[in-house]
Subunit: 236 residues, 2 copies
């Protein structure tokens, strides 16, 4: 049935163009024609066959992928191909939005150590400081940071911790309890004082140079689990 169909279609193309003459033909010529025809047919048939088979495989590949996509999507409602692709587009857009938000402001830890401190004066005279530091991850980094800040009489308003592959980025928003004269000795800016304190914590970490789990009961060395935290600013 299938082969019948295939032949019929092909017939309509090749043989009708060359064997359009009909009526009687000399036997020899007919024989020759037939053989030529047969050769052509065989060749063309083979070509056509491989062609259509290749095309079928291609279609199969594409459709397999589409099916996989469909299974991955949350809403399998629309079975239709175009709608499926439309939904996929939405999801990819979502993905891009999220990843771009991760990248934004460099919240993800980098390979090199970093430390930046910015200070901004609020309306009521208080100083709000935003510090971002990036270094190797270790267990008690956050408590140490808090302690360091407390010793400067600074209060943590907000903390954001993002770890990835053994590295950590910390974004801290802190504010002085009272006037800034408490914090900064004459001749030094608030930011540089904070910067020194934080650098001290970072470098103590390097100096201690222990494994993340070293002090505690950390098994082997599990760098595998990573963990990304995102925050958003309040400013809008």
């Amino acid at each position: 049935m299938a082969s019948r169909y295939g032949l019929g279609v092909y017939d309509g193309g090749a043989s009708s163009s060359s064997s359009r003459g009909f009526g009687l033909q000399p036997a020899a010529e007919l024989m020759q024609k037939m053989t030529v025809q047969e050769i052509m047919d065989a060749k063309a048939l083979a070509a056509s066959k491989s062609h259509s088979e290749a095309e079928r495989r291609r279609r199969e590949r594409i459709n397999t992928h589409l099916a996989k996509l469909r299974s991955l999507l949350p809403s399998t409602t629309k079975t239709d191909k175009a709608s499926l692709l439309a939904e996929v587009i939405q999801h990819v857009k979502e993905l891009r939005r999220q990843t771009s938000m991760i990248a934004e402001d460099g919240r993800v830890p980098t390979e090199s150590d970093e430390l930046t401190v910015d200070a901004a004066q609020e309306d009521d005279g208080r100083t709000v400081i935003k510090a971002s530091l990036c270094c190797d991850d270790r267990a008690d980094l956050l408590p140490e940071l808090i302690r360091a800040l407390k010793s400067l009489r600074l209060k943590a308003l907000r903390a954001e911790i993002t770890t990835l592959g053994g590295r950590v980025r910390n974004v801290l928003v802190v504010a002085g309890e009272e006037a800034e004269s408490d914090v900064a000795p004459p001749g030094q800016s608030v930011t540089s004082v904070v910067q020194e304190a934080l650098r001290g914590v970072m470098e103590r970490a390097v100096a201690a140079g222990e494994e993340v789990g070293g002090g505690g009961g950390g098994s082997k060395r599990q760098r595998t689990i990573t963990n990304v935290g995102l925050l958003q600013q309040r400013s809008m």
Copy 2:
């Protein structure tokens, strides 16, 4: 003639099945046949035309979507259709992984206050506690938590803060410094002790009942800003 040819092509399908009879035909019958044929041809032609046009539009829709997808993807390297879909699959997988991990463990803050504490014994006998709490956001929540834990002689190993619309979820991983006998009085489990301590912090917050930005220079009350934390695993 051009139209006839178009018909001719179609002819191969339709008319050959109906005008299979050959030889001479009475003029009347032939004429009638022609008109019937023409009608059929016209009808079939129109049908075929609309059909192919519809199909073309469908193809266009799909290809438009594919193009959009291609433009959304980071690597535009492979222009080939199947490969494109393969890459899309990878991206969607990534997306699903991430979003599923967000949902997992309920890291996003909810509307109702929550507090859960789990304790797990490590190989070396130390107790590692995972606490997750969700409440209204306020500036010094984290320092207070750290302080509360410190008073229990617990060390913060990891902290994850996720804020969303004025609410905050805190996931803390803490460990006892030494044996657990230090932490828990006889007759009380470690988890319940930790739970009480954290609940104390949460409720003190409620008691204080101040606006988040109340102490600082917070304007009006902007709940609009939200914030999503993402997680990723490395395991590929």
